[in-house]
Symmetry: C2
Subunit: 182 residues, 2 copies
């Protein structure tokens, strides 16, 4: 879909980092005027709605420096270069929770901040979980603690802003809609 397309006149790279990069694009707007767009490029990510055999949602708590606080999220992580999203989803689930899954299915994808970033999250649903004997290692700068909660507990966490994250807020609604099938 190219409605209201903004053609790039010039693209100026500002920063290229470990995870994100920043550029400023001069664009031609649909009305013929010029504008500027500040754009973050990100490798994309996966996230997993993992349901335990008891019907609970698997969550991880971690410190988010950007927010200067800890929040509680569904397991998620960046795509490695060239990595197939479903494999990344399984990898992140194992690394962050110690769970493998016998069943995984693609749910949907969405951009997290389309106003300034190209980050897209690919969401998976994992069921039929089992504990991995030899636990996979987290990234060296990653510290998480694991919890498993019922829908009611998850809704309380939304209320208390312990769940304070778009993909996890989505997962809580999804679980509520699909709990009969979990």
């Amino acid at each position: 879909m190219k409605k209201f397309e903004e053609k790039t006149i010039q693209s100026t790279p500002i920063y290229s980092g470990k995870i994100i990069s920043l550029k400023v694009d001069d664009v031609l707007l649909p009305n013929g005027k010029e504008g500027k767009r500040e754009i973050i490029n990100h490798p994309g990510a996966v996230a997993v709605i993992a349901i335990t055999n008891e019907g609970k949602l698997v969550l991880v708590e971690q410190y988010r420096k950007a927010l200067e606080r800890s929040i509680i999220e569904i397991p998620a992580g960046k795509l490695e270069r060239g990595e197939e999203p479903e494999l990344a989803a399984k990898r992140e689930l194992e690394e962050e929770t110690g769970y493998g899954c016998h069943e995984i299915s693609y749910l949907q994808s969405f951009a997290t901040s389309p106003g300034f970033a190209d980050e897209v999250i690919h969401l998976y649903v994992a069921k039929n979980l089992y504990e991995i004997e030899e636990k996979a290692e987290l990234d060296e700068d990653e510290f998480v603690s694991l919890m498993e909660v019922s829908i009611e507990e998850a809704e309380e966490m939304v209320e208390d802003q312990k769940i304070y994250d778009a993909k996890t807020a989505f997962a809580v609604l999804w679980m509520k809609l699909n709990s009969g099938r979990a």
Copy 2:
């Protein structure tokens, strides 16, 4: 919540733009090692799940340069400096759709990309809509087209990836869960 807190050793500003700014923080990790965090600061935003008197969801299509495509979203926009979120939600609804509302309520807030950005979206539900006679003006670099869709149509748009945005994906599930009360 400060679990696994990462203390800032040094913060290096990289870019300060019209909407976002970028800094790189050197941090002390919980294991005593040092790490780097690339962080985008954003003023925060509001978004509105607006339900027409016919029970339809109000959506806007706009070009998102970061994604290089048009997507369909619930009405949303950045907070102006010092602006009260509920007023911002009403303002964005009016500017983007030409609708005022007699009823607006706060739903919840969430971070969109906590791994690298501090952007938080405050979500509102607007009902009892009316058409404004003198339409408010969009920002000079903003071009949107309006549509009103049923839950079924919204779900098809998710399927087709026309809805490809976290807050709007959340809104579709919310509407499905609450359609009896719309």
